[in-house]
Amino acid sequence: MSETEPTTTDAPEPSRRPGRERGRDDGKFGRYGGQYVPEALMPAIEELTDAYDRYVLGNEDGFMDEFRERLADFGGRPTPLQRAERLSERYDREVYLKREDLLHGGAHKLNNALGQVLLAKYMGKERIVAETGAGQHGTATAMAAAHLDMPCEIYMGERDINRQRPNVFRMKLNGAEVNPVTAGRGTLKEAISETMRDWATTVENTHYVIGSVVGPHPFPVMVRDFQAVISEEARAQSIEKTGELPTDVVACAGGGSNTMGSFAGFVDDESVALHAIEAGGSTLEVDEEAGVAPNSASLFAGEEGVLHGARTKLLQDSHGQIMESHSVSSGLDYAGVGPELAYLVDEGRVTPVAVDDDAALEGFHRLSNTEGIIPALETAHAFGYLEEHAEDLGERVVVTVSGRGDKDLESVIEETDKRDIEGAPDMSMFTGGI
């Protein structure tokens, strides 16, 4: 399709529809998106596309009503939009926090997991599989599956299992089986590949609850639509509290479900600037020889390619082999990103920024000791950004607190001990575990 926009047209091109609906019909976001999957998965994907059209877009059998009711009763929605008093003072502008850390489970992930497990139920599926990186999507899926009485298996990289033991235990408490993935470096990318393999064998009775706005159509649009509740609420809450829209929305970006959830409701509000904060890791330099990118900044530093079912921006070497990404936060540690975000960045609608491990840790401690909120390390990147770039922002900034940091305490102790961070407590006495 043409990249040059016609100024007037009766029927907008699919990818030019209002942002809220982009990609719903064909899964294409300009040149990104699509369905690059093995043939054995195509019938399942067609079945899912049909279910998405009927139940999610069409509210057939009252699906969306039940989804919203369960998000409220089981999930605790709506989450607050809270004015952060110390940060507002520190940065000399109004800083509001969208508190997804207060959602059941402690992260925004439940919005999507509950939506997809419920959809699987409406589709008559009997089993759930999911991948997880940090364990946040795994725990959310395990909770939703227990809540809706569905058997559930979670694939998780072995390295992530070691980094996120409390989350592994939470999944097991909710009755899920946790399957370690040992291929590659044992992180999210390998877990996604392994879950796709399971699904290719079991498509007839199994639904794959993908954890982000990645993968083949309809996953990117469906996950965005389930997560969009974040920005729908934030938009209404901003108007209610301040009488106006925010000037800026800031959200951390790994695969991009928190990002798209935080942006979707604002994409058509041109006055609202959207900032996607990626994990800059230790450096943006790439070690081509070792196949390692010591960061996860695929929007900022990646190149176009095809991974896990979609054409998007990727961390890859010059041959097209996928790089091992890195971040201090395992939830952002992924070599790809949602195709819609890749598109919005190319269009100039979303600004990607990379924040490194150090700045993220500082952000973690700052939010903890000034506002009394211990954020997930993923979220902490957004506060690292605020410290470095507040001057560039307008007068009303919404930052999504995508999750709480309890799961990260062991890593934070270890990482803090290596650094000299202002305002951080002395962690050396805890090194070696709590």
């Binding site: 399709m1 040149r31 369905q35 690059y36 093995p38 054995a40 019938p43 390619g305 991974l307 041959h319």
Partner: protein
């Protein structure tokens, strides 16, 4: 894309491989466990009676492969395999069978670097063939006859299909037990060379039995005048016999052969010993396929 006329493949060598008698189509990952041994292994398949050889160019995220071929991919990548070394390997091979490259789309798409990609960017056309074209041009130059790309569905395949037609290569598609109706039509209007009939759901891997869904898949494909090669799970001459007797025009065998290479690494066998085992399993599979074919044609004649 205009529909293809059934039976009009681009590669005469592939067409000839299926022309009389069943085709034995073995697969190995190139560079597993190293470049030199891999040359000897592929040549052993050829001596063992291969009619077409599928050469795997390893991709770091092989989502359609089971543990056996994943292991081969890891060994090969650790040994330094790249697309250019793969092409050099194909040039150096001394075999009679036509060669088909099996790989994932990102490697095809990235070949030729950002120049090829930005050409499609300036034309503003996501479906431009500039990405895959450079790869196909190089493949034709080194003597490859076709492609199998497991993560490229028919819907996204037009740029590669066009490049294959330009350079006279075939594009093989995989048909799963779940592929029916419109999807089957869409695939069969784009396939050339042969159709890869996936015998069961899931990923690649040798199995002790061969699924019944194969017969149903072959029945659905009967009306299409393209050779049907069945793969996924075939590991013995007896499997091969049964599959060909059931109507297949060929058998594709990967994991059972890769297992031999893996055993060779594990048991520290000589290259010659591993090559001998590959040749001998190849003879068994080929003989099985021929028995199946004789049973089928004999039965047809006696009717």
């Amino acid at each position: 894309m205009a529909d293809r006329t059934p039976g009009t493949g681009n590669s005469e060598a592939i067409a000839a491989a299926f022309a009389d008698g069943p085709a034995y189509v073995p697969y190995l990952a190139v560079g597993d466990p190293d470049y030199e041994s891999s040359l000897a292994y592929v040549e052993a398949l050829d001596r063992g009676g291969a009619d077409v050889i599928e050469l795997g160019l390893p991709f770091s995220e092989p989502i359609a492969e089971g543990p056996t071929i994943q292991g081969a991919v890891v060994r090969s990548l650790e040994g330094g395999m790249t697309p250019d070394r793969f092409f050099a390997f194909v040039e150096e091979l001394d075999v009679d069978a036509p060669l088909v490259c099996m790989t994932y789309y990102n490697l095809i798409y990235q070949y030729g670097g950002s120049e090829a990609r930005s050409a499609s960017e300036t034309s503003g056309d996501a479906a431009s063939s500039d990405g895959p074209r450079a790869f196909v041009e190089k493949a034709a130059e080194v003597g490859l006859e076709g492609f199998v790309v497991p993560d490229l569905p028919a819907e996204e395949a037009d740029p590669l299909r066009e490049a294959c037609d330009e350079f006279g290569l075939d594009l093989v598609f995989i048909v799963a037990p779940t592929t029916k109706g419109e999807r089957l039509e869409r695939i069969m209007s784009r396939v050339s060379g042969y159709v890869y009939v996936q015998a069961r759901l899931g990923t690649t891997g040798a199995k002790s039995d061969v699924a019944d869904s194969t017969t149903e898949s072959l029945d659905r494909l009967r009306e299409y005048d393209v050779p049907k090669a069945v793969g996924f799970g075939i590991s013995t001459g007896e499997h091969a016999e049964r599959i060909v007797a059931g109507g297949a025009d060929g058998i594709i065998v990967g994991s059972a052969l890769v297992d031999i290479v893996a055993d060779g690494v594990e048991e520290d066998l000589s290259t010659e010993a591993v090559a001998d085992r590959l040749e001998s399993l190849s003879r068994e599979l080929k003989a099985g396929a021929e028995r199946g074919y004789a049973a089928r044609t004999g039965a047809a004649e006696s009717r």
